[in-house]
Amino acid sequence: MLQTIYQEDIYKFIESYFKEINDISEFHLNFFIENKIPTIDINLLILEKFIFQAFKFLKTNLEFKFSNFLHKLYNDIHNLLQFIEQFNKKSQIEINIFENDFLPLLPKYQLLKEKLEDKYRMLHHTDLNISSLEVQIKFFNPKNKEDTNELKHLRGRLVDAIHYNAKSKEDISKITITLNNLKNDLKDTFIEEFHKSKISYLSKYNLVLNTKLFYFNKKMWEEINQNQKTLSYFNNLGLKNINLKIYIENYLKHIDFSKSKNSNKYSQIENILKAIDE
């Protein structure tokens, strides 16, 4: 029941949380659609390190002059990658987002939190008051009727303070239970919805990245294969008609899969290389 009341709040929060990433994805996907440039649904992100490593290696070690287009595309992909890396870090622990970002936005939660803080403040105040009254009563030595009345008055105040204190503790316990119930009732729904949305928004963003990486990779090897200096460099290594597939296969040749911790990752790479079909 409670989830239904707050369902709209959950959806609104998720929408606004992923707004920036969605805007970026939409911008780039619209660019592809408007210009009739096909998007590529192959997970090239797993090969991103190899692609960029080849680009940097040739640029630095062989002083290869790539085109302005390729540099621009490199910066574009690099910025998009940096953004998603930070975003993934931020949105990794869903329970933290629920507690720190979502719950404080709910008016009921805010009200209960404020009440609880007030009660704790009052409890602290009466605790101090009780201690002070207890000290006063302990060292109070009545010498006349007036003093006896004063002592009676102090004792009366102590009883009131203790009573008030007990009442505050009871209120704190009740508010805490209500707060926890609210949290527990919404937690699972929030995390499930958030997780589903995260997968969906990220898959759209990854489609943009995979497409840009695909064209970057394609253009990079095209430029490399048109240059005599780089061609003779690769020919000397025994690599002809160089492309990403050959470049990575050459790299993988030097890995002992039985000893490598990343053997699973490398088998994934081999599968993606098959899919590239250059």
Partner: protein
């Protein structure tokens, strides 16, 4: 952050386009979705479901007399004639010709059996969409969509039988 919204010039857009033209055997999502709308067995199947159940989708261009399918081969690929026509041969004997917007090879895929006939391109630029359907997902939550695909496949088979009957009558 403006650097997340890179704008490309017309010349740069042309480079993207040139790079994409060279990859007609790839499976770009946009192409896949566009194509799926043209294949009748996917009528009423949402795009997000198609992405899950379709595998190895390719667009292949054949010249006249090029072999598309070999009789007795083990292969569960389904083909859809997008443009052009094909000849269907059994033991090198012409059985029928099929043209635009016809599904071929669906029997071998459904029954998991060898190809019952050879298919040969009958025009100079026959464009075929080749794909596989992940029938293992039939038992998942996607079962409902498979019932639609089966219904559409039955319709296509019925159409084919009618077409073949007509060809026999005409002979």
């Amino acid at each position: 952050m403006n650097n997340l919204y890179t704008i490309y010039t017309d010349d740069e857009i042309d480079i993207f386009k040139q790079l994409s033209i060279k990859n007609d055997t790839l499976t770009p999502t946009s192409k896949l979705l566009e194509i799926s709308k043209k294949i009748p067995i996917f009528n009423d199947i949402p795009e997000n479901i198609l992405i899950k159940i379709l595998k190895d989708i390719k667009i292949i261009k054949y010249k006249k007399d090029e072999i598309i399918i070999n009789e007795n081969e083990n292969d569960d690929t389904i083909l859809f004639i997008l443009i052009g026509s094909v000849k269907v041969l059994q033991k090198q004997k012409l059985i029928t010709t099929l043209s635009n917007h016809t599904i071929i090879g669906e029997m071998a895929s459904l029954l998991n059996e060898k190809r019952t006939a050879s298919i040969i391109s009958n025009s100079d630029s026959t464009i075929i969409i080749s794909f596989k359907i992940d029938f293992s997902l039939n038992h998942s939550s996607l079962g409902f969509y498979f019932s639609i695909i089966y219904k559409n496949l039955a319709k296509e088979l019925a159409k084919k039988i009618l077409h073949q009957n007509q060809q026999i009558i005409n002979k």
